[in-house]
């Protein structure tokens, strides 16, 4: 079986982003970029499926500019077999990315498409579900466990108020939540080996992907900053503040 993992290049999760002084957007010039943490979990899960003998091939794909090759190499170093980069001009809105990925799914015919449940930059949490719709596939979001039995993907999901297990006929789309696995680190030999693994560049325009602009960013503001309040010395002092000053009790 073949697993396709769609990944995103995003800001390094350890970096606190700042709003540009003119309020036009956040400052990304010179900021360290990384593989989105949830995408890392998706790559890890695909590699584990291969290690368990369920999958034979792991293909990793991203949509965007050529700089994203860096993140594809990371995925290859973690254990993916080959990589695809669909170069797409214009705004990388989820629906446009999903349209590009639909072409890749048509070409690759995977048995499973894995996504991170969200990216830590725009936090849209849309692309996997949109691809599932466009490609006519069933979906399970927020996966915390994944297995395969009798032609179905069995997915445990973290839902509001508890857990749910669903069975999806293959092929299917699954988006990965935090507790699905703990991603490994790439070893130095694996990083060296990844440089020789195939990475194919695809021209999005040549693939005939019709992108549209659906939204316009009007501006970005920093959030309202909270400042540290007061230190109380005892539980009684805390309760009296909450009753008298804050009025929340």
């Amino acid at each position: 079986m073949k697993v396709l993992v769609a990944v995103k290049r995003a800001i390094d999760p350890n970096i606190k982003v700042r709003v540009k002084t003119d309020g036009s957007d956040v400052e990304l010039a010179g900021v360290k970029m990384a593989l989105n943490p949830f995408c890392e979990i998706a790559v890890e899960e695909a590699i584990r499926l291969k290690e368990r003998g369920i999958a034979q091939e792991v293909v990793v794909v991203t949509v965007g500019g050529s700089a994203a090759q860096e993140q594809l190499r990371v995925a290859l170093a973690l254990g993916a077999d080959r990589a695809l980069l669909v170069e797409l001009p214009g705004p990388l809105e989820p629906l446009n990315v999903a349209k590009a990925l639909t072409r890749v799914v048509e070409r690759e015919r995977p048995d499973l498409v894995l996504f991170g449940k969200q990216a830590i930059d725009q936090e849209n949490s849309q692309t996997g579900q949109m691809l599932a719709q466009l490609a006519g596939l069933p979906q399970a979001t927020c996966a915390s466990a994944l297995s395969h039995a009798a032609g179905e993907w069995i997915v445990e999901r973290e839902i509001d108020g508890g857990r749910q297990t669903v069975a999806l006929r293959s092929p299917a789309v699954v988006t990965c939540d935090l507790r699905l696995n703990e991603p490994r680190y790439a070893s130095l030999p694996a990083i060296m080996k990844a440089k020789k693994k195939p990475l194919e560049m695809l021209d999005g325009t040549a693939l005939g992907i019709a992108t549209k602009t659906h939204t316009r960013l009007l501006g970005v503001q920093p959030p309202i900053q909270r400042s540290a309040g007061i230190r109380v010395q005892s539980v009684d002092e805390l309760v009296s503040h909450l009753k008298q000053r804050a009025g929340v009790l």
Binding site: D121, Q126, L134, R169, L218, Q221, S227, L238
Partner: protein, 308 residues
């Protein structure tokens, strides 16, 4: 023009966050239709019909749980009739279904809306809440998920609006629900509770976490947890507050033994009053807390329970 809300219910009980989504919809100043799908939809319709601002409740009662695939087809059929807005709570279900609807309608989707500036201009947090983006929709139909904690709940009013039962044959799908385990709790829903008491790694064990639950119960509040506490097995995954869990903005948020990682702050920094109870006087949570008590948690929590 009309606004359609995809509402959620479980076993005939309307999800509390629905009232907050209705309040957001009211800002769009269009007739509001509210759609309920699945087993129990008809029973929940009565509660939905009493929410002030709702003009019509549409009900699709089904025998089995309805997969996101078939829900999306149904909603797109209803929402695609005319320009307007389609809303759902930014819950796991809303985030699962609405992107499919947007793809079907070939429109963009704006997720986690916390403010409505006009019928086509919205505010939403990005980068773990470190920036708030103002976004204009250029489509004819706006598909939005609403962060419930950013809007007040719509009142329960009277008389109830009309309830219309739709006879829709849902297409069979390639997915099915095998099982569902939902925590049954008498406590209020985390996303819309007035008081939230959350515990972190500092509690040390699942048994100790009960100290947090007892304080929450004294206050009639909901229980939350940091990611560290959930990962350590102290609390269920559905209690996680933060960037990737629930977003809360209660009147009172009590963080017990929570250091205050940026991802946690993203989920609760909109709270009106924040209390930090921590052994570490330098924990980042103290930088955003209105009141900080540096104390031994295992003394402070029982003391607090008694003092309330």
């Amino acid at each position: 023009m009309a606004t359609l809300i995809l509402a959620e219910q479980h076993q005939g009980q309307l999800k509390a966050g629905t009232a907050n989504v209705v309040m957001a919809a009211r800002e769009l100043a269009q007739p509001i239709e509210l759609l309920l799908i699945g087993p129990g939809a008809a029973a929940a319709a009565e509660q939905a019909a009493a929410l002030v601002g709702v003009d019509r409740v549409l009900v699709v009662e089904t025998a089995a749980p309805c997969a996101p695939e078939s829900q999306a087809e149904l909603i797109a059929g209803l929402a695609g009739r005319q320009p307007g807005q389609l809303l759902a709570e930014a819950s796991v279900q809303g985030r699962s279904v609405l992107p499919r609807v947007a793809a079907l309608l070939d429109v963009g989707m704006i997720a986690e809306v916390i403010g409505i500036d006009s019928p086509t201009v919205f505010r939403r947090p990005i980068y773990a809440g470190n920036a708030i983006a103002r976004i204009e929709s250029l489509d004819e139909v706006q598909v939005l998920t609403i962060r419930a904690s950013a809007f007040a709940p719509a009142e329960q009013g009277e008389p109830p609006c009309p309830i219309v039962r739709l006879e829709q044959a849902l297409l069979p799908t390639a997915s099915r629900v095998v099982s569902e385990v939902l925590s049954t709790s008498a406590r209020p829903e985390l996303g819309s509770a007035r008081v939230v008491v959350s515990g972190g790694r500092g509690l040390g064990s699942r048994e100790n976490f009960a100290l947090v639950e007892r304080v929450a119960d004294r206050l009639g509040g909901a229980v939350g947890a940091s990611r560290a506490a959930v990962d350590a097995g102290f609390a269920g995954n559905d209690l996680q507050v933060g960037q990737t869990g629930k977003h809360v903005a209660p009147d009172l948020y009590v963080a017990v033994g929570i250091s205050g990682a940026i991802q946690h702050l993203a989920g609760m920094s909109g709270s009106k009053i924040i209390v930090a109870i921590n052994q570490d006087a330098e924990a980042p949570i103290t930088q955003v807390a209105d009141y900080t008590l540096v104390a031994d948690l295992f003394q402070a929590l029982p003391d607090l329970e008694r003092a309330l």
